[in-house]
Amino acid sequence: MKRITGTLIGRLMRNIMRSPDTIITVAITPIMMMLLFVYVFGGAIETGTDNYVNYLLPGILLMAIASGVAYTSVRLFTDVKSGLMARFITMPIKRSSVLWAHVLTSLVSNALTILIVILVALLMGFRSNAGLLDWLSVAGILGLFTLALTWLAVIPGLTASSMEGATAYSYPLVFLPFISSAFVPTETMPKIVRIFAENQPVTSIVNAIRALLYEGAVGNDIWIALAWCIGIMGIAYFFASKKFKRQLG
């Protein structure tokens, strides 16, 4: 199982490293957003903090992950269409390792993107006095969020009939941070928008990461954030596995 998954991950990582645009494109959009919000809109946004890069970063990271997982759909879709998937699942190997290889590859490649975005944020003035444990917790939440969205991405990757269809779902995910506490406080939003913003997953995840990075506290939002991530992951995993099995007859 380990050898199989390892071989398949090695193959997918080679694919990514040979088309570096997949990592750069994914990192560039959130970096542009960060530049735009900090140097264009930032001066006019009242957040009650003196460091807007700090305020913005958690939401930007989620945005990077949301656009990064779309590549999992693309890679899966390509495998199904090229016949490689059929080749793998008719071989004497554990079938689930084929999906897990894609999911774990997504975890690694998104971690790389996140690192790039954080480095750019440091240049723009991002500062945190969080300790190792806080950083590990942040990595844990981001990892869970990546897993949840990746399992979600597996479903269109397996079932879509066109490349556009395989990635269309990612647009609303990428824009979810806009209607949340990621860029501006939710207090100024009209009531209905505010109710949505305060009760969607991005807000609780962003608040939980902020608490860990800047307040040295765990905060209350972390439990809601974890519940969202695990809930989405569980449901997506269930439907993805079901689709995978049914597709194989």
Partner: protein, 253 residues
């Protein structure tokens, strides 16, 4: 040892009310090249998909080397290899990397050596370190078949191996398949080209209207029809002969 490599009885499969296979029966002996001949949409790929554990039949029985496809798919996967309608390779990887990947997945002892040997056998050594998406159609197909040979499976499915290839590449693939059969591998080949079945197959089954309407060697099939009449006709070269001659491939098999 049981001499039957593939045995199918009363195999049925429908898609949304449309009955594609209406009770297909045939047997393939070990070491035989067996061609499943039929027009587009006759259900050839459906048969291959069921035999290669990609799909479940609605009814009937299918055995590969005596193992039931439906009840023991894991056992069946030990002895088969699928070469589907499209060359199933990772275009971003080189030819050698593609072969190494499959060798590692199959748990072969020395993947690098196995890869190099196959590259040489399929005349791909020169292109070994080129990315597979830069290969020609014929080269892709040869790499694809080479990938299917790793782990020496007993039964190989070749689903329309030459569809979409130019005449030159088609002959390359034919030679490859003939060579395989000499090695004692059982091959189930599907094709819509009569000439391909004639060139390669030991026995031929004609799949039409959801059932096998005739099975036999080419000779047996020929004998079912009225005796040939001897006529004297000036033999004009076919366009294929001309094409192959001009581009310098003298032997058209």
């Amino acid at each position: 040892m049981n001499q039957t490599a593939i045995s199918i009885k009363r195999l049925k499969k429908s898609f949304n009310e449309k009955e594609v296979l209406k009770g297909v029966d045939f047997e393939v002996q070990r070491g035989e090249i067996f061609a499943l001949l039929g027009s587009n949409g006759a259900g050839k790929t459906t048969v291959v998909n069921i035999l290669s554990t990609l799909m479940k039949a609605d009814d009937g029985e299918a055995l590969i080397c005596g193992i039931d496809v439906d009840r023991q798919p894991d056992g069946v996967r030990q002895s088969i290899s699928l070469t589907g309608q499209f060359a199933a390779l990772d275009g971003m990887l080189t030819g050698r990397e593609n072969l190494m990947m499959i060798a590692k997945l199959r748990g072969v002892h020395n993947p690098a050596q196995v890869a190099d040997r196959l590259l040489a056998r399929f005349s791909l050594t020169e292109a070994a370190n080129k990315r597979a998406d830069q290969y020609s159609g014929g080269m892709k197909r040869r790499l694809d078949i080479a990938m299917s040979l790793i782990g020496t499976p007993e039964v190989i499915f070749l689903d329309e191996p030459t569809t979409g290839l130019d005449p030159e590449a088609r002959i390359e693939v034919w030679n490859t398949v003939k060579e395989l059969a000499n090695g004692g591998t059982t091959i189930l080949l599907t094709t819509q080209y009569l000439e391909e079945a004639e060139q390669l197959a030991d026995r031929i089954a004609i799949l039409h209207g959801g059932v096998i309407i005739k099975t036999g060697t080419l000779q047996e099939l020929k004998e079912m029809f009225p005796k040939a009449i001897v006529e004297y006709v000036e033999k004009q070269p076919s366009l294929e002969d001309i094409f192959l001659n001009i581009i310098g491939k003298k032997e058209s098999v």
